[in-house]
């Protein structure tokens, strides 16, 4: 059965060109980049090239502002703990209510340690509550960390504006840009960002490698202590093949952003969304239609439950994900949809389709053909479907 992969916000295919670029660095050019001999030392230049490729993708002024990490979770944790450790007198930190657990959990940990923490809410379209943010931001704020784009709904936050307000109060600004990098133009200089996290596998790079951008002159304390690697900012032998893969993926992503691929992905996404809205009653799109990454749509199907929809789609080879409680085993629907105040009858039945440049029109046509009978079938089983009538 052909796999129709519409779950690209979870992970993406590692591009064949990326794999090809990585391969020599496993068994052939396996030297340690820190070695004195040419065999290993040459890999220093290989890493520097990847660093430049990543810097170019996010508009960093200097390649040395890129620190390679093992994943975006490490990048997020490094940024947060560095910000509080380098400003020990400040005891207030801010984030949004819809962040990834890699932000949420360190924030909750710091709250338990005595920090004042504000989780800024969102409105029904998932838009950041700028008024409340401005009310709570003060001179005691050490860090504001707000995601660039939301993984579940694709909603883009006004990062440049949030960063500007943050700097007015003298706090550091970090953004988890995992769902934005590679999907939309990201420029750390224009947006005035102090620190930014990104992950390779979200834009056709390998899993197990990420990066943290730290602007020059930003106070920084390493999260992993040990060797001198990454200019003493991230200890641990450089993962040469994965860093090369991340660099190559960044280069390819920059090309896609420049050549109009994003617009093609958005056109397919819109076709899927409009098709569903036109053929299935009681559906609702979650997120801000005006400010959304081009590949994501999050749609709620009223009166039925998301896991059931996913399982029927799975039988057809279609991969998507859901904010339903049942899929996580957590018993509660997605914290993002709840923060948006999505009613329960819609939150449990939410499905996220996330496309990539590999998604074809035929894929979308198949979903548009197969989805309506699935929804109809589940609604027939549901005791609430009459409510919809």
């Amino acid at each position: 059965m052909k796999v129709i992969y519409l779950d690209n916000n979870a992970t993406t295919q590692c591009a064949p060109a990326v794999v090809e670029a990585m391969l020599p660095f496993f068994s052939e050019k396996y030297g340690n980049a820190s070695s004195m001999h040419t065999f290993g030392g040459e890999n220093r230049h290989v890493i520097d090239r990847a660093r430049q490729q990543v810097a170019d993708l996010i508009g960093a002024a200097h390649a040395d502002e890129i620190i390679f990490t093992s994943c975006a979770t490490e990048s997020d944790n490094s940024a947060i703990f560095s910000a509080v450790r380098t400003q020990p007198k400040k005891k207030h930190i801010i984030t949004s209510a819809v962040e990834h657990p890699a932000i949420m959990e360190p924030y909750k940990y710091l709250e338990a340690q005595g920090y004042r923490v504000d989780f800024i809410g969102v409105d029904e379209l998932g838009r950041f509550d700028m008024a409340r943010f401005q009310r709570v931001l003060d001179e005691d704020t050490a860090l504001v960390s707000v995601m660039w784009a939301n993984s579940e709904t694709g909603t883009i936050f006004p990062i440049a504006e949030i960063a500007r307000l943050t700097h007015e109060k003298g706090a550091l600004f970090h953004t988890d840009a995992v769902q934005a990098v590679g999907k939309i133009p990201v420029n750390v200089q224009e947006a005035d960002i102090d620190m930014l996290s990104l992950s390779g596998h979200k834009f056709h790079g390998p899993k197990g490698v990420g990066a943290l951008y730290v602007r020059r002159a930003t106070p920084f304390m390493p999260y992993l202590m040990g060797g001198h690697q990454e200019r003493h900012r991230r200890a641990g032998t450089e993962n040469v093949p994965y860093i090369v893969g991340l660099g190559k993926a960044a280069e390819l992503a920059a090309k896609r952003l420049a050549d109009g691929t994003s617009a093609q992905i958005a056109a397919l996404r819109d076709k899927l969304e409009q098709g569903i809205l036109a053929t299935i009653p009681d559906v609702k799109v979650n997120g801000d239609p005006q400010h959304r990454v081009p590949n994501t749509t999050n749609i709620s199907f009223g009166y039925i439950e998301g896991e059931s929809i996913l399982m029927y789609l799975n039988d057809l080879g279609v991969c998507a994900s859901s904010g339903s409680a049942c899929t996580s085993g957590s018993l509660e629907p997605s914290h993002v949809l709840r923060a948006m105040g999505v009613p329960f009858q819609f939150a449990h039945g939410s499905i996220r389709f996330s496309l990539s440049d590999q998604t074809t029109e035929a894929d979308i046509d198949l979903v548009l053909k197969e989805l309506p009978p699935i929804i109809e079938r589940l609604r027939k089983i549901s005791p609430f479907s009459r409510l919809a009538a």
């Binding site: 039925i304 896991e307 059931s308 409680a325 049942c326 509660e332 329960f344 089983i381 005791p383 609430f384």
Partner: protein, 282 residues
């Protein structure tokens, strides 16, 4: 990705007996949109024989909720009301092969809907919504009563709060009731292990336990009284049943020290800890 059995997937893909029986003899409902799963079970019963002749379901929920409901209708058809009433959530899970631990609450929902449908039949057919007893609600997020939790613990031999959450959903949202669930677990499981709960005799205790017990008695029973005279006492050593104690503060060097040791401290330790103990000044 859940590890669903082929049987679960079969009943999910081809659910049996979907719908609602018009003019049903019994209608049981459980769950709600808020909870994320709900089941409405209707039954047709032969009034002469009490045999369930037909059963249909409507379910809002995940694959395992639909499969549990579907197989339940098959299990009860042809059974008398009395026979059907004996079906437990474990029977439903067994009929499906098994369910992932986190999904056991789906089988519990089936059992509850059946209970409500039987009640509805016995009361003349008006629909019955399965209700938790209001006054004993433990988990307010999912509206789960103490009775449901106790029943789930007993029939499924649950040991931890996590188990209880998997089976009943209680404690799965805000988690505020987890302490209370632990107490219910202790109560229910503690009752089965009553002999083990008996306090150890002094002779059975480890050295650390002996010392801790003596120190606790000194702290709670002895020192407060000595403190009133500006003195105190501390445990220095324990050799067999001989407790060596040093009197401190005003008590140290007091003419009545020997009397205090024997008449008060030794007496208290004999009473509260073990009759074999004797006290000596360290």
């Amino acid at each position: 990705m859940w590890d669903y059995t082929d049987k679960v997937m079969d009943h999910f893909r081809n659910p049996r007996n979907v719908g609602a029986i018009p003019n049903a003899d019994g209608t049981g409902q459980v769950g709600s949109l808020v909870c994320g799963d709900a089941l409405k079970l209707t039954i047709k019963v032969n009034k002469e024989t009490d045999v369930i002749e037909d059963a249909k379901f409507e379910t809002f929920g995940c694959a395992s909720a639909i499969a549990s409901s579907s197989i339940l209708t098959e299990m009860i058809k042809g059974k008398t009301i009395a026979e059907a009433s004996k079906i437990t959530n474990q029977d439903i899970a067994d009929a499906l092969g098994t369910l992932p631990a986190e999904k056991m609450h789906c089988s519990v929902m089936g059992m509850e809907a059946l209970e409500a449908a039987v009640k509805s039949y016995r009361q003349g057919g008006a629909p019955v919504v399965f209700e938790q007893q209001e006054e004993k609600i433990v988990c307010h997020c999912f509206n789960v009563s103490e009775e449901t939790i106790i029943k789930a613990i007993r029939s499924n031999h649950l040991k931890t709060v996590e188990d209880v959450t998997h089976f009943t959903k209680a404690g799965g949202a805000c988690g505020r009731c987890k302490g209370e669930i632990q107490k219910i677990l202790d109560k229910v499981n503690g009752a089965n292990q009553a002999p083990a709960a008996q306090p150890k005799t002094f002779a059975q205790m480890t050295m650390v336990e002996k010392i801790k017990t003596i120190e606790r008695v000194l702290e709670e029973e002895v020192c407060p009284k000595l403190n009133m005279d500006g003195g105190s006492a501390e445990l220095v050593d324990l050799e067999g049943s001989v407790v060596k104690i040093r009197l401190t503060g005003m008590c140290s060097g007091c003419a009545g020290a020997a009397g205090t040791l024997k008449n008060f401290i030794e007496k208290t330790l004999k009473e509260k800890v073990d009759s074999s103990l004797t006290v000596e000044q360290a």
